[in-house]
Structures are given as structure tokens and as C-alpha cells.
């Protein structure tokens, strides 16, 4: 796991990835794909999407493209075998086999070095690390393939007999590398037949531009702030707070912006992907926060891990066990680092306490205090998330709470706080439903609706041009969730 401040070091990697927020994507790849897609006959549309998606992936991961194709082919074959075995015992064997062949590459590429590091530490050995680059998007497409084979086994999804359609589902470039995790059942019918309407295209464009702006105008700017202040000579208490707050907002805008772009692009091509964020920072408890943050991951773990383990139906002890397993895996999914495991378990503890004791108590206190409580502990969680190992996490926490014997502030941090104040303010307001509510409110009145109809496209064009300007002039453009 790297912080955005260390994100600079991952720029080298993301530079070669054709991210949505890049000139090559916006002004070369996207127009050509749109042209081919809408000119292609209905039967060939999935093939166009597949070829485009493979090319998209190839631009960033030429070598790992074959790994993705292999894992996809494995998922496809296992789906056929599970379906052929139906309810027989071979269905279960095929399912286990599909999980093994699906998860094995993820474990190998993502967790081998973590295992080696800890074995070396524990047994005082010196096994060399493999130092393999993590294939982009492997955590996302692995989970998508697993959702397919498990759902075919459960009888919740029909088997996909066309390898082209199945590959198009797995590799669909809008959501390939950073989610949302689209389950097969969500787009199953749209893979066969989908409608393309002007309404969907316009709404997809709108959503895509909003996501693009969130990423380029806010997330990148806050990433730069994090970078700059990390380089400052003298650390202060205010520095640690500003770093924590700017990272929390940055990761929200970065990831939700990407999800918006994915959902928007999907809609242009006739797909309806699930929502991945729902204003998480207005949550009144951490339980609610996780219903609003990375929704597709939370529901995936709920439906494919938590409920099969028994959920809360088999007594308190097993319920607690299940909670801790799910949150351990959630942390571990985000990266092979102890601080991420710790981050997952941190939420496990809070969620257990909230469900057992605090939710009743929280209900009795004013809403704004509940929101402060949630924001505060979410902020702490992102300090754990952002650290390079547990040592740095605790160092940052000590810094925030004045345990490092450092001054409260200095002129440097005030300078940057002042300089980025409007950006932080805009970001804070944008993270609430206020802009959406206001737009809806204006849309409900006849007079303002007609004005809104003119303003909205103008704002979209302005944002697109602004994003272009920021991309041309800037170089800070890493996507944080590409690492997972």
C-alpha cells in the first residue's frame, strides 16, 4: 500500500496505464471505441467491447494481458463444467476447482512476497522476495469471475456459453481495473441484449464528466497537497491533521470519481453498473459508513463470505468469528500489509461494538455529534490505511495527537492550508448530497428547470475543458485503487 504522497513513486507505473483521466484515453481511445461500437451491428457489439477492452489492458499491462485471458478462460470453462454437473457432486468439485484456479493467481502475485517477508521474519530465514509487479485490476476481475462461477453453482446465474460474451463481461474496460465489482448477474441480461438510448448516453456522459472532474480537479490537487507537505522540513501537529484529512478526501474523490466514470461509460454502452458510493461522509455510524463506501466490495463479501459462513444466524460466537473473518479479508484484499489487515480488523471491532452496544446509544445523541464520531474514527482508519507499515501509522497518529513533541503549527503549514482552503471547502461540500439536492430542487420548478437545462450542458463542457487543461499542465495523475 502506498500513500498518495508516495504515489509519486507509482506514477512511473500509472504513466503507462491508459487511465480514464488521460489525454490518450479521452481524445484517442474513447472516440475511436465509440465510433466502432455504435457503427457495429448489434451482434458484433460485445466483440468490439472485448477487443477494445483487451487493447485498453494491453496498453498498461502487455504481459499480464495473457494472465487475465487465462484466468477468464478458466472461469468460463469452470462455469460450463459446473453447469454440466448440475447438482451432482462434480458440481461442487468444479466450484472448488474454479475458486482455486481463480484465487491462485491473485494469491501468488499479491501475497507471495508478504508471506516470504513474514516467514523470513518469523523463522529468521533469508528467502529472496519475488518482487513481481501486481497485475492491474487482478483483485477486481478475480472477484467478478468468482461471483460468476459461484452464482452458476447456486443456480442464480445462467451459464454463459459464449466465450466472447463472458470475456467481454470480465474485461469490460469501464470497470476492469478499479471496479465497481460488477457481478455477472447484474449485467447478465445486458450482455445478451441491451438498449441504447439518448437518455442513457447523455446521463452516462454527465456521470463520466462528473467523475473525471472529481478525480482531476479535486483528488489530484489534494494528492499534490499531500506530496508537498510531506516534503516540508518541520513537522507539526497541524501537518499530521492536514495530511490525514486531505488523504481521506482525496481517496474518496479518487475512488468514487473512478466509479462515476466507470458507471457513466457503462451507461453509454448500455450497461447499468451498481452504485459504489453513496455519500459515505454523512454517515452517522461506522456501520452506515460501510453501507455507503465501496458498496460493491462490501456486498460481495457479505454475499460470498459472510452469509455462507452463517452470518449472524448461528449464535454470538460464530457471528463474531464471521465478522472478524470478513474484515480481515477486506483489509487483506486491499493489500498485503499488516497495517491494512489492522485497518480491516479496526472496523471489525467498531462494527461489533456498534451492533452490540453503541448503535442504541448513538441513536440518542444529536445527529451532528454522530457524524463527528463517524468522521473522526473514519479519519483514524485512513491514517492506518495510508501508512507504510504499522510503524508509520502509529507515528502519524502520535503526530496528530501531539505525542511527538512538535509545535502545533508553523508558517509553512498555514501557507498550504490557506492555499488549498477553497479546494478543501469545495471538496467537503461536494462530498455531501447538497449539490445533488440543490440540482434536483431546481429541476422541480418549471422556471428554474428551463435554466438548468441550459446550464447543465454548459457546465459539463466547461468541466471537460477544465479537466483537459489540468491534464495538459499537470503530471500528478495516479489512481490509488490501481494498486489493489
Amino acid at each position: 500500500m502506498q500513500s498518495p504522497s508516495r504515489g509519486i513513486s507509482c506514477i512511473g507505473r500509472t504513466e503507462i496505464i491508459m487511465v480514464f483521466s488521460s489525454i490518450s484515453f479521452l481524445y484517442y481511445f474513447l472516440p475511436l471505441v465509440l465510433l466502432l461500437y455504435f457503427l457495429a451491428p448489434r451482434r458484433a457489439k460485445n466483440l468490439v467491447l472485448l477487443i477494445s477492452s483487451l487493447f485498453f489492458y494491453f496498453c498498461g499491462e502487455p504481459v499480464y494481458l495473457f494472465l487475465m485471458i487465462a484466468v477468464t478462460f478458466s472461469g468460463y470453462l469452470h462455469g460450463l463444467w459446473i453447469n454440466r454437473a448440475k447438482d451432482g457432486r462434480y458440481a461442487k468439485v468444479s466450484l472448488i476447482s474454479s475458486i482455486f484456479f481463480g484465487v491462485a493467481p491473485l494469491l501468488f502475485f499479491k501475497y507471495t512476497d508478504f508471506a516470504i517477508k513474514n516467514i523470513n521474519l518469523f523463522f529468521k530465514l533469508n528467502i529472496p522476495a519475488l518482487k513481481l509487479a501486481l497485475p492491474i485490476g487482478i483483485s477486481f476481475y478475480t472477484f467478478q469471475i468468482l461471483s460468476y462461477t459461484i452464482d452458476v453453482y447456486r443456480g442464480n446465474a445462467r451459464v454463459q456459453k459464449s466465450f466472447i460474451d463472458f470475456s467481454a463481461y470480465v474485461s469490460l474496460f469501464p470497470q476492469l481495473i478499479a471496479g465497481p465489482i460488477v457481478r455477472y448477474t447484474t449485467v447478465e441480461s445486458e450482455l445478451y441484449i441491451r438498449t441504447h438510448s439518448l437518455k442513457d448516453v447523455a446521463s452516462g456522459i454527465n456521470r463520466f464528466i462528473i467523475g473525471l472532474s472529481k478525480k482531476v480537479l479535486i483528488a489530484n490537487s489534494l494528492g499534490e497537497l499531500g506530496d508537498i507537505i510531506t516534503e516540508l522540513n518541520e513537522k507539526t501537529v497541524l501537518f499530521f491533521w492536514l495530511k490525514a484529512i486531505s488523504f481521506m478526501i482525496q481517496i474518496y474523490y479518487d475512488f468514487s470519481g473512478y466509479s462515476d466514470m466507470a458507471i457513466g461509460l457503462g451507461r453509454i454502452f448500455g450497461f447499468h453498473f451498481p452504485e459504489n458510493f453513496n455519500y459515505p461522509f454523512i454517515s452517522k455510524s461506522l456501520t452506515e459508513f460501510w453501507r455507503r463506501w465501496h458498496i460493491s466490495l462490501g456486498t460481495w463479501f457479505r454475499d460470498y463470505i459472510y452469509i455462507p459462513l452463517g452470518g449472524n444466524r448461528k449464535g454470538m460466537a460464530k457471528w463474531l468469528r464471521n465478522i472478524f473473518i470478513v474484515w480481515f479479508l477486506t483489509g487483506f484484499w486491499h493489500g498485503a500489509e499488516w497495517n491494512l489487515i489492522f485497518w480491516g480488523l479496526y472496523f471489525a471491532v467498531f462494527l461489533c461494538f456498534e451492533k452490540l452496544f453503541w448503535l442504541g446509544l448513538l441513536d440518542k445523541i444529536p445527529v451532528f455529534l454522530r457524524r463527528i464520531y463517524t468522521l473522526f474514527f473514519t479519519l483514524i482508519s485512513f491514517v492506518l490505511f495510508n501508512g507504510d507499515g504499522l510503524g508509520e501509522c502509529f507515528y502519524n497518529l502520535k503526530g496528530m495527537f501531539g505525542f511527538l513533541n512538535i509545535p502545533f503549527s508553523n508558517s509553512e503549514i498555514y501557507y498550504y492550508l490557506k492555499s488549498y482552503f477553497i479546494t478543501l471547502l469545495v471538496a467537503a461540500i461536494g462530498a455531501t448530497p447538497l449539490p445533488k439536492t440543490l440540482t434536483e430542487h431546481l429541476g422541480n420548478h418549471k422556471k428554474t428547470k428551463s435554466i438548468l437545462n441550459i446550464i447543465e450542458p454548459a457546465v459539463q463542457v466547461s468541466l471537460l475543458l477544465l479537466v483537459t487543461a489540468y491534464l495538459i499542465d499537470g503530471s500528478f495523475n495516479p489512481f490509488l485503487y490501481f494498486r489493489f
Partner: protein
């Protein structure tokens, strides 16, 4: 609603297809004069680069550099940063009353120490028998930054570090007191030659010369418009400067020898005003070793001037006190190679003249 959807879709299509076609049909530009750098050209295609992913990385850089209306877009970004987001600076560039400047922060003490160790080494190796001094040119931040709420290095501390670490034989000539922000171009990092007479006088006096630049008659020549290095970086519309240089018969006749290319050049080369860096008018810009010989000198004194780009504009004025000045740019020539080009016995004085920005980023000194 239907009309809004049509307008939204059409505008989006027009923009993405319009710029794609515009970028493809517009010929590639080789040099960005506003940014003073060569722009990335279309990458060559090879199977190795394709497989490694390097091709797409290069292609992205190419698309960024060769985007139509690139400078207009950069201006739009600067406008947003300064006017809408109210950022204090944009890519480190800030503007105070039309004066464009670049943040220099924080103070890099190790860099300053490295610069003084370089000076000490050269002094001990070559200049023991030469009257040696140093002067520090404050960058524009000294005048603009702290008073206007921008981050500023501790200039006193910088001077203190140098004074404490520099070897005893090297004397200090203080020029801080006689400079003001008006002595610098508004759109450029450099100082303006026509405002340096008193600075040249003070340096000449500090070096023990009884000659003064203020005793010499100069003709003032103007070149307009001068878009300085910060102008392009700021990407905002502001009034350009006028580049003024001071000349006379002596300077016109002076022999200027470029040791690297082994050719004679001129003190002023106005034809370079339209090049990538108009400041190259002075002594043809960045050169490792240049010697100026004064044909009308009544003295036989020689000066070794260790300098950065600021030295190019003041050297013609210092010629008032010398028969010969050799300018040495340690960013371009190694200190170890100096004795191959210079007979140190021919010089009586030496001056290390560096801007604070060079001292704070001195690892470029070789």
C-alpha cells in the same frame, strides 16, 4: 429533457472528436517557446517497446505535449488555480502586482554547504595567490515572498552558513542592500543590466579596483517584447518586459572567446532575442568558459568570474575595471578541468557570484 440530452451528447461528441481530429491534422511543434523546452515528438514504434509498455508511456507524453491550443489550456488552468481555487501559487509560480516569481523553499542547508565546499576547494587549489571574493545575488523572493505571505527561505541563515563555512581567504561583498525588486525583470528570474551600474561599482570597489562602471558612458539599447522564463511558466497574460542592454565602442570591440567551441562571439547578440531564451542576448547564453578582453583597458588586471546566468549581464559592466574577464560556469564545466583551459597566473582577482537559487540547488555545480 430530450433537447438537453441531444445538446449534451452532441457537445461531448464534438469536443472529443474535434480535438482528436485537430491533434491528428495539426503539425507537431518542436519547441515550446513559452515553456522553453523541446516538446515530445511522436514515439517510434518497436516491438520491444510495445511489449514493455514503454510505447504507450511515450505516446501519452506525446499527446500531452502536442495538444492543440496547449498554451491556452495551460492559461485556463492557471486562471482556475489563481482566481477560482485561490491557490497562492500554481506549480510554484506566484504573481505579486504583475511581478511573476517562483517559490524557492525550503532552505537546503546541505546544498549551501556543498556550494561553499566547492568554492573552498577551488580556492585552495587555484586561487590562494589571487584576491578572491564572493557575492550573493538575492533572488526575487527576497523582496517579494515574505511580505506578501509566501514561503521564503531564511536569507540571513543562508548568508550565515556561507560566512561560517567559507575559507578565510575569500572576502564577502554585500550587494543585498543596494538591490530592490525593481532591479529584476517582472517576467523573468534575472536582474536587468541597466540597473546594475551601482552593483558593478560596489563589486569593483570590493575587489579593490579603483575603476567604476559609473564612470563609463553606455548607450542603452532596448529589445521588446521580452517574455521572461517565468512568463511561460505562469501561463497568464501580463505585460512583457523590455530587455535593455548597455553598450559602447569598447564593448562592441571587445574580443570574446568561447573556449568550448573555440570561436569568437560577441558580448551582445541581439539576434538571439527571438530564440528560446531571449536572455541569451548576453554572451550567447549558457557557456562553460568565456573570456572577454577589453581592448581599451588601461589596467592589466584579470578577473576570474565564477558565475551562474546572472553573471552574463554584469560581466560587461565589470569590464570597466579589467583588461580581461574569464567567466566560468561550474554547472557546465568541472572544477577539476579548469587548469586545462586557464592560466591562473594571468589573473589578479577572482569573484564567486551566485544567485541564492543556485546556492540552494547547488548540486548542479560540478
Amino acid at each position: 429533457m430530450g433537447m438537453k440530452n441531444i445538446v449534451t451528447t452532441c457537445l461531448f461528441i464534438i469536443i472529443i472528436f474535434g480535438f482528436m481530429i485537430g491533434n491528428i491534422i495539426t503539425p507537431d511543434i518542436e519547441i515550446s517557446f513559452s515553456e522553453r523546452r523541446t516538446l515530445t515528438q511522436a514515439p517510434g514504434f518497436s516491438r520491444r517497446e510495445l511489449i514493455s509498455g514503454d510505447f504507450f508511456g511515450k505516446f501519452e507524453k506525446y499527446t500531452l505535449d502536442q495538444f492543440v491550443f496547449r498554451d491556452k489550456f495551460r492559461g485556463l488552468k492557471a486562471f482556475m488555480e489563481f482566481k477560482i481555487f485561490k491557490q497562492k501559487d500554481n506549480n510554484g509560480i506566484y504573481i505579486v502586482n504583475g511581478n511573476i516569481n517562483k517559490l524557492e523553499y525550503p532552505l537546503n542547508e546541505n546544498s549551501v554547504l556543498y556550494a561553499t565546499s566547492k568554492i573552498n576547494d577551488i580556492y585552495k587549489k587555484h586561487l590562494i595567490n589571487i584576491n578572491t571574493s564572493y557575492a550573493i545575488i538575492p533572488d526575487k523572493n527576497f523582496f517579494l515572498a515574505s511580505d506578501n505571505g509566501y514561503l521564503s527561505i531564511d536569507y540571513d541563515k543562508l548568508a550565515e552558513i556561507i560566512s561560517e563555512s567559507i575559507t578565510d581567504g575569500v572576502k564577502y561583498i554585500n550587494i543585498y542592500d543596494i538591490l530592490s525588486v525593481d532591479d529584476y525583470y517582472r517576467t523573468d528570474i534575472h536582474w536587468s543590466q541597466n540597473r546594475l551600474i551601482r552593483v558593478a561599482d560596489k563589486i569593483l570597489t570590493g575587489l579593490g579596483s579603483n575603476k567604476k562602471a559609473s564612470d563609463i558612458k553606455y548607450i542603452q539599447k532596448e529589445l521588446y517584447p521580452f517574455f521572461g522564463s517565468y512568463y511561460g511558466q505562469a501561463a497568464v497574460n501580463t505585460e512583457p518586459d523590455t530587455l535593455i542592454y548597455l553598450t559602447n565602442d569598447t564593448l562592441e570591440k571587445a574580443r570574446v572567446f568561447d573556449h568550448y567551441y573555440k570561436e569568437n562571439i560577441s558580448i551582445y547578440e541581439p539576434e538571439r532575442f527571438n530564440g528560446v531564451d531571449p536572455y541569451d542576448v548576453f554572451l550567447s547564453g549558457q557557456k562553460p568558459l568565456v573570456t572577454i578582453e577589453n581592448p581599451d583597458s588601461s589596467t592589466k588586471r584579470g578577473l576570474l568570474l565564477f558565475k551562474d546566468s546572472f553573471g552574463n549581464s554584469i560581466a560587461p559592466l565589470l569590464l570597466a575595471g579589467y583588461s580581461k574577464i574569464t567567466l566560468i560556469d561550474l554547472r557546465l564545466v568541472s572544477a577539476d578541468a579548469l587548469d586545462k583551459f586557464i592560466n591562473f597566473a594571468e589573473y589578479q582577482d577572482a569573484l564567486f557570484l551566485y544567485c541564492t537559487q543556485t546556492l540552494n540547488n547547488s548540486y548542479m555545480l560540478r
